[in-house]
């Protein structure tokens, strides 16, 4: 065995009120891919932030290449050859791609005048962009890229510093399947070049595909490790949650064709060229699948009324309804559990109680004044029903875990009378244990006669949870799959399919450019 390139020994980190890391050890050898797994809040990101110089450890030793080091700064970490790809994007979207890649390390000319050498940036950026398979000009402003492309830029940035150790914290959370595969093969190349990779992901399939060794964290402590031969889905889940997960695929339901909500020739302002028609049937979970940026979130947000549609109808029981704002949608029993919990789903700095009662506050009033007791009763009911783990209903929503926050969003709607609930990426940032619960809740809702529409980019979720799949691509609907047609290939084929074009010639040219 070669010498370890990185050794973390007895790392401790305390936050106010939380022991985030307690005596954690991690060893990484040269050219090894170590996957770090654990539920949200297990301490993975904290550990990596200590490695990257963003946090300081309260105790413990870090050795890089056999020498004990102290990492006080991001710059220290960079000097040691440690490069961090963050879970949240840390790009400056007002700069161009090249500017982001070389941020803080801009090649200079003009001696003491320190002008930035733009030409060099562009040349060198192109090389790294090619490596990650991003074929865009380095001079394009970052904000014009999709989230997935921005993530790839971040990876290109990590490559550009010639790191010995690259930490990837959930690098694929918004990448598509093809992009993920490219990333996995890139990890293989890095490995061959002697670079060590610490890979953090909730997606166990990817971990299985790329990791030489799996290290588990639970509640800020080491929970064991698995050699390559031992790595499989069940063993990893045990490592993460300390028990087996009961995730048996329920029998798919066939929706009632006679009871349905129809989306007819619906046009969202985001993709004004495409009319969308599909229906949601009672009793089924319908999934809107597609690549990131296919216009699914935009479509459901338009249905929910956050922007005005440009045409078409939503028909409930054959009757078109008029939705001009979320208020209208809510009045019709159409609710959205949005993609971005912290920004749009919840008021994170308000309490669980205040969040639950917000959409229909008038119901909790007496003589036009809010009745605390009524509110609390409603919140407690939902808390019990959904099993929201919180100290009390007076806890601020932001101090809850991802899964529990998602339940609070759901609790908002369940205390009303839902007709259609739209889940946009319902398990993003939700840990494995809570995922199963969210799925079960969706299934219960569908069984109880609520129409359920789910938007998901997670292939396991798309195939495992839904009863029928509608696939979109670039704002257009490309096909529908019934349960017996389900397969990863079928979904992907539709997700990258050519749109049956009856559109203006301009669009055809556009598509040809995109295809090439």
């Amino acid at each position: 065995m070669p010498d370890p390139v990185l050794e973390l020994k007895g790392i401790c980190k305390r936050f106010p009120g939380v022991m985030a890391l307690n005596d954690v050890n991690l060893t990484v050898f040269t050219g090894e891919v170590v996957a770090l797994i654990g539920e949200n809040g297990a301490g993975k990101s904290t550990l990596m932030k200590i490695l990257g110089g963003i946090y300081q450890a309260d105790g413990g030793i870090i050795r890089v290449g056999g020498n004990e080091v102290r990492i006080r700064h991001v710059a220290d970490a960079q000097r040691l050859g440690i490069s961090l790809i963050h879970q949240e994007l840390n790009n400056l979207d007002n700069l161009d791609i090249g500017g982001n890649i070389f941020l803080g390390r801009e090649p200079l000319f003009g001696g003491p005048l320190k002008f930035i050498d733009r030409k060099k940036i562009v040349e060198q950026s192109r090389v790294y962009l090619q490596k990650v398979g991003l074929n865009v000009a380095p001079t394009r402003p970052l904000r014009s890229l999709s989230i997935a492309q921005q993530q790839l830029t971040e990876i290109a940035k990590a490559l550009s510093v010639d790191a010995r150790i690259i930490v990837m914290d959930e690098p694929t959370s918004c990448l598509t399947l093809t992009e993920t595969n490219r990333l996995l093969s890139l990890i293989g190349e890095l490995k061959a070049a002697g670079v060590s990779v610490i890979y953090i992901s909730h997606r166990l399939m990817e971990v299985h595909a790329c990791a030489d060794r799996v290290v588990g964290l639970r509640d800020g402590k080491n929970s064991g490790q698995l050699a390559k031969a031992e790595v499989n889905h069940d063993s990893m889940v045990r490592l993460m949650i300390g028990r087996n997960l009961d995730l048996k695929k329920t029998k798919t339901r066939i929706g009632d064709v006679n009871a349905r909500i129809e989306i007819r020739e619906f046009v969202s302002p985001f993709f004004p060229r495409h009319k969308i028609t599909f229906d949601i049937r009672r009793g089924e979970i319908l999934c809107l699948a597609g690549l990131v940026g296919a216009g699914r979130s935009e479509l459901v947000r338009t249905i929910f009324g956050t922007v005005r549609s440009l045409g078409g109808d939503v028909l409930v029981g054959g009757q078109p309804i008029r939705v001009r704002s979320p208020k209208d949608a809510i009045a019709h029993g159409i609710y959205l559990v949005p993609e971005d919990r912290r920004k749009t789903g919840l008021l994170t700095s308000m309490t669980v109680r205040e969040n639950v009662t917000l959409p229909d506050l008038w119901r909790f009033t007496r003589l036009a004044l809010i009745s605390y007791r009524k509110e609390l009763a409603a919140a407690e009911l939902q808390r019990k029903r959904l099993g929201i783990k919180t100290a009390s209903c007076e806890t601020l929503a932001k101090s809850l875990s991802g899964g529990n926050q998602q339940k609070v969003v759901l609790a908002k709607w369940l205390s009303l009378s839902p007709k259609l609930i739209i889940f946009d990426e319902p398990t993003r940032g939700v840990d494995v244990g809570s995922k199963a619960e969210v799925y079960r809740l969706m299934r219960d809702l569908a069984d109880s006669g609520v129409f359920v529409l789910m938007v998901s980019s997670d292939m396991e979720e798309v195939l495992g949870v839904s009863d029928r799949i509608v696939v979109m691509r670039e704002g257009a609907l490309t096909g529908t799959l019934a349960a017996h047609e389900f397969s990863e290939e079928a979904v992907m084929k539709l997700a990258v399919a050519r749109i049956r074009s009856s559109k203006k010639p301009v669009s055809n040219t556009m598509e040809r450019i995109l295809e090439n």
């Binding site: 106010p16 009120g17 939380v18 956050t306 809510i330 920004k343 917000l358 099993g387 009378s417 109880s448």
Partner: protein, 351 residues
Amino acid sequence: MAIIFLAVFFGYALLEGFQRGFATTFTDPIFLGSGNLLNLTRSVGIFGIFSVAMGVVIITGGIDLSVGAVFALLGVILAYLLTNYNWPWPLAVMAVILLAMALGLIHGVLISRVNLQPFVVTLCGLLAYRGFARFLSSDQTVGFGNRTGYELLRTLATGSIFNLPAPFILFVAVCIVMTFVLHVSVYGRYLFAIGRNEEAAFYSGINTKLIVTSAYVLCGFLTGISAILLGFYTNSISPASHGSFFELYAIAAAVLGGCSLRGGEGSVLGIFLGTAMIQLLRNIVNLQGIDSSLEFVVMGGVILIAVTFDQILAARRRALESRLDLKQELETPDGEAAITADGAARTRGIG
């Protein structure tokens, strides 16, 4: 905030006490003299009403810089309506308040529909209204003189009810009503929700544009009332200086009272105490014979110290709370299994 209020109060008392002996400061005949105390409460009343108005927009995450200029404009108009055009006073009062609300409406619409920044919109108001006031009056001081016919208004501004200055009584009434509006009504909850996260509030079905606009109209309404009181309090209105910088007193009172300029924080009680503290400070500065040009230095310094302490205390409180939360969480039994069956059964019951 109450703690800070008392701390400053007693801090001052201590300081003075050391200098002059404890007995003298608050038993100082000038301070305690009923004239001074009544003046103090009177100015608390007048400044308090528009500080609460400011608090409402600050809670939504906005700000209103035009308050002082609105005072000048409304003061000039009120004086003209009553003295030059001889309008009956109820009509003139109504016109002035409606005008104030209309200006609020314009601000609100520009902010919520056109998506302009509150700072910019009301800054333009600040410039425009004062300029317009000076134009209307040809930059001459206008006033009510000794004319009769609106004694009630004069009493409200300068008279007393139950031996207390009328503006103070009015302010207390405004505080009581606004406590209900802000802290117990649906509308108030919406204001706080918008201040915390406007987008999430919108996604929860709140008509955010309407609520934001209404906050500025409400602010205008209270500002209109203050304008009338202030006009009769000073009795003459010099358009170039009338109410100048008063918006800053209001913002300072709101911030001192626990409002966050980021929105979503604040309370009527806090604003009450904040206003009282600022007026007390002014009063003390005056009584101590401190050079009046240093008045703002003292106030700026004290406010800065107060909010710094508040920030430090809040950070410690948060740390303590999160520790408590964790403790409770660890003690909460993991009731997942029990919930599963129960939850499924209940969930089926809906819809």
